[in-house]
C-alpha cells in the first residue's frame, strides 16, 4: 500500500512538474501526460473562477462603443456577453466572446456557432428568415449541419412552421420595443423544437430570441443589448 502511495504521489508530481521547451510537440509519454494534466488543471481553475457578470443598466449600455449581445446557454447555465467580430452584407453578424466562442446571426436568425463543441457548422434557416423578414407566418424545411466527433458534419432536416403570435411590447434593460412575437415549430422523427423571435415592428430587428443550436448545445436565449 505504501509503495502505491509513493508511486501515485510521484507520478502526479512529475506530471505537473514536467517541463519542456521548443515549438515541436512530440507524442512522448511525458509530454502527453503533462498536456492532459494541464488541461485538467485549467478546467478546474475555470470552474472555480466563473467570469463575473456585469449588472446591466441603460446608462451602461448607452456608453458602450461596440455592439453587445447577451447569450444564455440554458443547458449549461452559462451567460456570456458577446461583441461583434465581423459584419457582412445581408445583415450578418459574427458575435464573439472574450475566449472567441462565436454566435453567427443572419437577420437575427442563428446560422452558426463556434467553440461550443459539436457546433452548428451551418444552417439553412429559410422558414425563419422569411418570417423574420416579413414579420409574418411561413413554413418549410430547415436544415442544420452539425459537427460530429469524427471531423465530419451531420445533416439534420426539420419541417418547420412559423406562426405570428401577435404584437408584444418587449422590455430590455429599461427600454421597451414594439415587437411581433414569432414562434417557429420544427420537428422530425426524433423530436421537436420551438424557436421564438421578438422582431421590431418598425425595422425588423430581432431584439430577443430563443433558438435551438444543436443537440449538444440545446437552446440559446439571445438578447440584442446594443446593435
Amino acid at each position: 500500500m505504501k509503495m502505491r502511495h509513493i508511486c501515485l504521489a510521484l507520478c502526479a508530481g512529475l506530471a505537473l512538474s514536467a517541463c519542456s521547451g521548443g515549438t515541436e510537440k512530440a507524442s512522448s509519454q511525458s509530454s502527453t501526460l503533462s498536456e492532459v494534466a494541464s488541461v485538467i488543471v485549467a478546467g478546474r481553475k475555470a470552474k472555480r473562477n466563473p467570469p463575473e457578470l456585469p449588472t446591466l443598466t441603460r446608462p451602461l449600455l448607452d456608453n458602450l462603443t461596440v455592439g453587445s449581445l447577451e447569450v444564455i446557454a440554458s443547458k449549461r447555465a452559462q451567460t456570456a456577453y458577446l461583441i461583434p467580430e465581423a459584419r457582412r452584407s445581408g445583415n450578418l453578424t459574427v458575435w464573439r466572446t472574450g475566449g472567441n466562442s462565436q454566435v453567427i446571426l443572419r437577420d437575427g436568425v442563428l446560422i452558426g456557432t463556434k467553440g461550443l463543441g459539436n457546433d452548428l457548422a451551418s444552417a439553412d434557416a429559410s422558414p425563419a428568415l422569411a418570417a423574420v423578414r416579413t414579420r409574418g407566418s411561413s413554413a418549410g424545411q430547415r436544415v442544420m449541419y452539425i459537427r460530429n466527433d469524427v471531423n465530419g458534419v451531420d445533416r439534420m432536416s426539420l419541417s418547420c412552421e412559423v406562426h405570428n403570435l401577435g404584437a408584444e411590447n418587449l422590455e430590455i434593460v429599461e427600454r421597451s420595443f414594439p415587437t411581433v412575437h414569432l414562434r417557429e415549430d420544427c420537428s422530425n422523427e426524433t423530436g421537436k423544437i420551438a424557436n421564438h423571435y421578438w422582431v421590431d415592428r418598425r425595422d425588423g430587428t430581432v431584439w430577443k430570441s430563443r433558438q435551438w443550436a444543436s443537440p449538444q448545445t440545446g437552446y440559446l436565449d439571445i438578447r440584442l443589448l446594443k446593435k
Binding site: I6, S30, E35, V39, S122
Partner: protein, 720 residues
C-alpha cells in the same frame, strides 16, 4: 496481494474516470442523431446474458473493456466492433486454485470472433454466430449460434425484455447435451499445448447443447438477468476451483453512466460474481472538441468600389515577398502554424507551412487560408496550401479566394468547399520562394515521467517500471534530426521476474528481462536522421544510431505514395546490432540485416491494410499482415499477425507472432486540439520469431496524414 490491490485499484480508477463522462443525450424531446442500442455484456465481455452469449451485436465501432470475477475465475476482456457485423474480443483469464499442470493459478489468453448473421426485425430475432477462444490453448473453446429478440413493455411491464436462446458446442455443450450434429470427435482441452493455431479441427464438432437467458431492463438504470447455462465447468470443478450446484445463474446490473455498467450475480448455485463493463465509441468523444473560433474571412472590396486595391503593381516590388512573409508569420503562429516558405505572383500564392496544433490537417488548412485572405493583396486569387511534415511537402491543396469569401456562411459550406478544392502533388522544392529564416536550428526538449508496462507474466500479469525520462530533438537543417532519450527508473517490478528466455532463436526480443535487470539509467535512444522528398510522389529517410532499446545501426527507407492514391509502396533496409543489456553505447555480438517491402492500401471508410514481406530480426523470412480501422479523429484499432519460416515448435508458446494495435487521440479526452496520441501494441506473448525493428520516424504515417483521403475525412473541420 499488494500488487493485486494496486492492479485492481488502477483498473477501477480508469473505469470511474471514463465512467463519469457523459455525452449529449436528448432527454427533453428535442431532435437528436439516433444512437444504436448498446447491449449489455456477459462475463466473457461479449454481448450476452450472464455467462451465456446473446445474438446482438454492439453498435458499429463500439469499444468495450470489461472485468468479471466469480468462483476464482477472473476475465479481463477487450472487444471491438470492427464492422457492423463483425466483432473481435481479446481476453485474459485467470483461474485460481488450479493446482495442476504446474500452475497454481492457470492463466490464458483467448481470441473470439462473432458474426451477426441477421439483424433483428419486427418479428424475427437477431442471430449471431460466435467462435470463442478459437486459436489459443482452448480452455474456453466453444462455438455457438444464438438468437435474441427484444420486447418493449413486455406483458404490460415497464422497460424492455430480451430473450435469448442458442445452441453451443465445446465448453458450451458440456452440460445438457442433446447429441452431436457435425461429428463427435472433438479433441480434448490440453493445458500444456502451445496454442496459437486455428483450431479448425474442433469447430462445431462434438456434442451440442441448448442454452437460454432473459434480460429485463426495468428502467434506464436497473436490469435483472437470469439464464440456463450449458457449461458444466468440467476443467474447473474437477480441479476443485469451485463447486457447481445448479445450471441457473441470476444477476442484477446497474447502469452507472452511459459508458459504465456494474453487475452482481449468483452463479451456479454456489458462487457470488461481479462485473464491470465499460463501453465507449470512437465516434463519440468523451469531451467534444472545442476550438476557439477563427477569424472571419476578410472580404475584398469589389473591383468597381476600389480599383486601386486590385492593382497588381505590388508584385513587381522586390521587397513585397519578404514584407508579406513577415506579416503572415505572426498571424500563422497565433493559429499554431509555422510558415516554412512562401512564393507569390500577382494572382496566386503558395504557402508551405507546418501544422503544430490541429490533429485534423483540414483545420490547419482552413486557418491558414483565413490568414492568407487577411494579409495577401486582393489581386491574389489562387491559394495553394502545402502542409510540410519535417521537410516533406505532402500535398498541394488549392483553394480559390472568391470561393472562401462566397461560401463562408452558406448552408452546407463543408461539402460546397470540398467540391471546389483541388488536391495535387507538391514539388520537392518551391522555386523563387522566400523562406522562414528562423526555422533552424531548433531545439525541443522535455523532462517528465514515463511508465513502461509489461503484460501477461503468469506470475504477475501486469508489471511496470516508472521513472523519469529526458528527451531532446534538435534540427539543424531541413530534414535533419538528432534526437535522444534517457531514462532513469525510480520504481518498478519488471526486473523482479525470474522468467528468463527459453528461446531457441536468436534472442532478439525475449531478453527484455535481462535489459530490465541490467541498469536503472539507460540511453533509450540516440540517433540522427534525414528525410527528404527525392522526386514526385516519393519520400526518403535514412537513420543511424541507437534506434531502439535493443538494437542500433543504420536504416534506410523509400516510400512511393501519390497524393490521390489509395495505394502506397515502400521498401526499408536496415543493418543493426544488438545493444548491450546496460543500454549505454556498447553492443553485443549479434548483428543482422533486416528489411521489408511493404504495400499499404486504404480500402475506404477507414479500413486499412498493410502487407510487409521481408527478413525479421532473428533472420527469419516471412510476412506480416495488418488490418486496422481508423477514425478521422485519430482513433485506430487493429490487429496483425506474422508468419515466417520459423516453425511453431521453434517459435515456442503462441506458435506465431500476433497482436493488437490501439491508438487513442489525446484530444478525444481533453476536447482541446492536439496532435498527440496514446498508442500501444499488445502482444499476447512476445517471442523472437517475426520480430521487427522499431525504427523511429517511419514514413507512411507521416506522409499519409497530409494526403487527399485523410484531408477529405477531416474536411468537416476546414471551416472551424
Amino acid at each position: 496481494m499488494q500488487r493485486a490491490i494496486l492492479r485492481n485499484t488502477s483498473f477501477a480508477a480508469a473505469f470511474v474516470a471514463l465512467g463519469t463522462a457523459a455525452y449529449a443525450q436528448s432527454d427533453d424531446g428535442t431532435p437528436h442523431f439516433k444512437m444504436p442500442v448498446q447491449p449489455s455484456l456477459n462475463l466473457y465481455g461479449s454481448p450476452g446474458v450472464i455467462d451465456m452469449p446473446s445474438g446482438e451485436a454492439l453498435p458499429d465501432a463500439q469499444f468495450a473493456v470489461s472485468y468479471s470475477y466469480f468462483g476464482g475465475i477472473s476475465r479481463s476482456a477487450m472487444t471491438f466492433q470492427f464492422s457492423p457485423r463483425i466483432s473481435a474480443t481479446f481476453r485474459y483469464v485467470g483461474i485460481r486454485n488450479w493446482n495442476d499442470n504446474g500452475f497454481d493459478t492457470y492463466r490464458d489468453r483467448n481470441f473470439d470472433v462473432r458474426f451477426l448473421l441477421r439483424r433483428e426485425s419486427q418479428y424475427l430475432p437477431a442471430i449471431t454466430l460466435g467462435l470463442q477462444d478459437f486459436a489459443g490453448t482452448g480452455i474456453n473453446a466453444a462455438e455457438y449460434v444464438v438468437a435474441t429478440k427484444t420486447f418493449d413493455r413486455p406483458l404490460s411491464l415497464p422497460g424492455t425484455m430480451k430473450v435469448s436462446a442458442g445452441l453451443g458446442w465445446g465448453r458450451l455443450a458440456s452440460s445438457g447435451s442433446i447429441g452431436s450434429l457435425f461429428g463427435s470427435n472433438r479433441p480434448k482441452f490440453n493445458p500444456n499445448s502451445k496454442g496459437g493455431n486455428f483450431a479448425t479441427d474442433q469447430w462445431f464438432r462434438g456434442p451440442t447443447a441448448p442454452f437460454a437467458g432473459i434480460e429485463w431492463q426495468i428502467d434506464n438504470r436497473w436490469a435483472v438477468k437470469a439464464e440456463y447455462s450449458s457449461d458444466a465447468y468440467e476443467p474447473e470443478t474437477s480441479r476443485g476451483v469451485f463447486t457447481r450446484k445448479s445450471r441457473m445463474n441470476f444477476g442484477a446490473e446497474y447502469q452507472y453512466s452511459q459508458n459504465l455498467r456494474l453487475g452482481a450475480y449468483w452463479m451456479y448455485g454456489s458462487e457470488f460474481g461481479i462485473s464491470a463493463q465499460l463501453q465507449v465509441n470512437p465516434k463519440r468523444a468523451t469531451t467534444p472538441m472545442m476550438v476557439s473560433g477563427p477569424r472571419t474571412i476578410q472580404q475584398r472590396p469589389t473591383r468597381a468600389e476600389n480599383p486601386a486595391a486590385w492593382s497588381e503593381d505590388w508584385s513587381t516590388s522586390a521587397t513585397a515577398p519578404t514584407t508579406i512573409r513577415d506579416a503572415l508569420r505572426p498571424e500563422l503562429e497565433k493559429e499554431g502554424l509555422t510558415l516554412e516558405a512562401l512564393s507569390l505572383s500577382a494572382n496566386s500564392a503558395e504557402l508551405r507551412f507546418i501544422n503544430r496544433r490541429y490533429s485534423a490537417d483540414a483545420a490547419a488548412i482552413g486557418r491558414a487560408a483565413r490568414v492568407m485572405a487577411m494579409i495577401l493583396p486582393p489581386s491574389v486569387e489562387t491559394f495553394r496550401l502545402v502542409l510540410v511534415q519535417n521537410n516533406l511537402p505532402l500535398s498541394t491543396v488549392t483553394l480559390r479566394r472568391s470561393d472562401l469569401e462566397a461560401l463562408e456562411f452558406q448552408p452546407d459550406n463543408t461539402d460546397a468547399l470540398l467540391a471546389v478544392t483541388g488536391f495535387s502533388e507538391a514539388a520537392p522544392n518551391l522555386p523563387y520562394s522566400v523562406k522562414n529564416p528562423d526555422l533552424y536550428p531548433s531545439l525541443n526538449f522535455s523532462v517528465g515521467p514515463y511508465v513502461s508496462p509489461s503484460y501477461f507474466d503468469p506470475e504477475s500479469p501486469v508489471r511496470a517500471d516508472a521513472g523519469v525520462s529526458a528527451e531532446f530533438r534538435y534540427r539543424f537543417a531541413p530534414g535533419w534530426l538528432v534526437a535522444g532519450e534517457m531514462r532513469h527508473r525510480l520504481i518498478g517490478n519488471i526486473a523482479d521476474s525470474d522468467r528468463f528466455s527459453n528461446s531457441q532463436l536468436p534472442r532478439v526480443r525475449t531478453d527484455s528481462l535481462r535489459y530490465a535487470q541490467a541498469a536503472d539509467t539507460t540511453l533509450h535512444k540516440l540517433y540522427i536522421s534525414k528525410q527528404w522528398k527525392p522526386g514526385a510522389n516519393t519520400y526518403a529517410r535514412v537513420t543511424a544510431g541507437y534506434l531502439e532499446q535493443m538494437f542500433g545501426g543504420v536504416s534506410a527507407e523509400l516510400l512511393w505514395k501519390p497524393v490521390n492514391s489509395r495505394l502506397a509502396l515502400g521498401v526499408e533496409a536496415n543493418y543493426v546490432k544488438q545493444r548491450e543489456y546496460e543500454q549505454r553505447f556498447g553492443f553485443q555480438d549479434y548483428s543482422v540485416a533486416t528489411g521489408h517491402v511493404s504495400a499499404y492500401y486504404e480500402f475506404g471508410r477507414g479500413y486499412m491494410g498493410q502487407l510487409d514481406v521481408g527478413r525479421y530480426l532473428a533472420g527469419d523470412v516471412g510476412a506480416t499482415a495488418t488490418v486496422t480501422r481508423e477514425f478521422a479523429n485519430g482513433w485506430r484499432v487493429g490487429g496483425f499477425f506474422t508468419l515466417t519460416n520459423v516453425s511453431a515448435a521453434e517459435f515456442g508458446e503462441g506458435s506465431f507472432d500476433k497482436g493488437i494495435i490501439l491508438q487513442i487521440p489525446v484530444g478525444w479526452f481533453t476536447g482541446q486540439p492536439s496532435k498527440r496520441t496514446v498508442s500501444t501494441t499488445i502482444r499476447p506473448i512476445q517471442r523472437d520469431g517475426g520480430a521487427r525493428l522499431d525504427v523511429p520516424g517511419r514514413l507512411y504515417e507521416q506522409v499519409r496524414n497530409g494526403h487527399r483521403n485523410d484531408i477529405v475525412a477531416d474536411f468537416g473541420r476546414a471551416w472551424e
